[in-house]
């Protein structure tokens, strides 16, 4: 079985694929309905940021194993303007457009590990991991 999925994010419809792909991986790993919903929601938020703020990019989703724990790692990357002030971007309610400003901070709360890495020369990469608790 191929444990890694690649989803290009270029238009609104692609977010449906993001959600579907995360759902599939999460259920194959054994996530319950609550954890699955949390991860799908985080994925849609990050994917929409990739689309809207990052001007398009892609998501890679993989099943990860550490010691005996299983989880899912979502890796979003775009070549947009990047996030100049991460603290500000992670502030609840901050938006540079007309969003709710809760996507980034909310996604961070919905997963176990959350890393934002600037991409050179432009863009951001966001890695979010959710572990399945046994």
């Amino acid at each position: 079985m191929l444990n890694s999925e690649y989803v290009p994010i270029k238009m609104e419809e692609d977010l449906l694929l993001v959600r579907k792909c995360v759902r599939q991986l999460a259920s194959s790993v054994g996530f319950g309905v609550l954890d699955m919903t949390r991860l799908m929601t985080a994925a849609v938020e990050l994917g929409r940021n990739t689309l809207i703020h990052g001007k398009g990019g892609h998501m890679r989703a993989v099943i990860v194993v550490k010691d005996k724990a299983k989880g899912i790692r979502l890796d979003f990357e775009d070549a947009g303007p990047g996030i100049p002030d991460l603290d500000l971007a992670l502030t609840d309610g901050y938006t540079s457009k007309d969003g709710m400003g809760l996507g980034l901070s909310g996604a961070k709360r919905l997963v176990n590990e959350f890393t934002v890495i600037p991409v050179t020369p432009r863009g951001v990469r966001i890695i979010a991991i959710s572990w399945l608790d046994e």
């Binding site: 191929l2 999925e5 690649y6 989803v7 290009p8 609104e12 419809e13 977010l15 449906l16 959600r19 309905v33 609550l34 699955m36 919903t37 949390r38 799908m40 929601t41 849609v44 938020e45 929409r48 892609h58 609840d92 969003g99 709710m100 809760l102 996507g103 901070s105 909310g106 996604a107 709360r109 919905l110």
Partner: protein, 286 residues
């Protein structure tokens, strides 16, 4: 000229298969526009190796590639697998087809080296074939883009059909939302809701989101917008069908739906609406 060329091909297949494979893999890895992050090198190498082996095998049995024949069946299976994988990995149709076409350059090169054919003629033939490949690939891309447009249009039409506003009772409208509440759809939902509100003079709207898979911040924004529009027309809104996992996720996300009345099920919402209208449902006394 066919005989000597066949001999050259056999020579290449017998003696230079390794070299052909190596050159092919290298040329793909280093070609312009090859998106190395889409596929791992060992996967590519394995696909190329299987392809060359099968190509030599099938081609020796039957020169004409009839993909439905037994002779070419293994090749058809391999290409099906590769094409499916590449679709999922995010390659474009052209990039996928280029996998096969790109074998031509190293193969032609070997043929040129091993045969006495006129170098200028073979070079020219190569160039012409490259032009035709590019044109052929272009038509495939256009074909697929057109199909995608058709699919998108059909999807939109389906959307329109799937946002019915139903009258549940005198003065009570129901708006079951199934699927994703994106911007386009919110627009449609809002228009038909406002129209029905005014034509039926209804005072209560129940928006049911049992069929919405996730409520992210944009969905929440759209819901709030729809509710405010209905309130501006003097109608009261109830949101029903917020499943427990959705409610919990919304809390962590930090979104709230404002002061809208929410009910866990459509039935509870209908009951609330009746109470609001001063109605009560009782069994018939026989």
């Amino acid at each position: 000229m066919p005989e000597p060329l066949d001999q050259v091909l056999h020579l290449i297949f017998d003696e230079y298969q390794e070299q052909l494979l190596e050159k092919w893999v290298e040329s793909q890895l280093h070609s312009d526009g090859f998106r190395s992050y889409l596929v791992q090198e060992d996967e590519l190498r394995e696909q190329c190796s299987s392809f060359v082996t099968l190509f030599v095998n099938c081609f020796s049995k039957k020169n004409h590639p009839d993909m439905t024949s037994d002779a070419w069946a293994p090749m058809a299976a391999l290409l099906t697998d590769i094409a499916k994988r590449r679709t999922n990995q995010g390659f474009t149709p052209s990039e996928t087809a280029t996998f096969v076409f790109s074998l031509k350059r190293p193969l032609f090169h070997l043929i040129k080296e091993q045969s006495q054919a006129d170098a200028k003629v073979t070079e020219r033939l190569w160039e012409i074939s490259l032009v035709l490949d590019t044109l052929g690939l272009f038509t495939t891309e256009v074909y697929l883009a057109t199909r995608e447009e058709v699919i998108t249009r059909q999807r939109e039409e389906m959307f329109e059909l799937s946002c019915p506003v139903v009258q549940l009772w005198d003065g009570v409208l129901g708006l079951p939302i199934i699927g994703t509440l994106d911007s386009k759809r919110t627009q449609l939902v809002m228009e038909s809701l406002l129209e029905t509100l005014s034509s039926t003079q209804s005072e209560i709207t129940i928006i049911d989101i049992t069929g919405v898979p996730v409520v992210d911040t944009l969905t929440a924004q759209h819901l709030i917008r729809t509710v405010s529009a209905a309130q501006l027309m003097g109608a009261r809104c109830i949101i029903s069908g917020i499943r427990p996992q959705i409610a919990q996720t919304m809390v962590h996300l930090g979104v709230s739906l404002g002061d809208v009345v929410t009910k866990s099920t459509m039935a509870a919402a209908i009951k609330y609406a009746f109470e609001f209208q001063g109605l009560e449902v009782n069994p018939i006394n026989k």
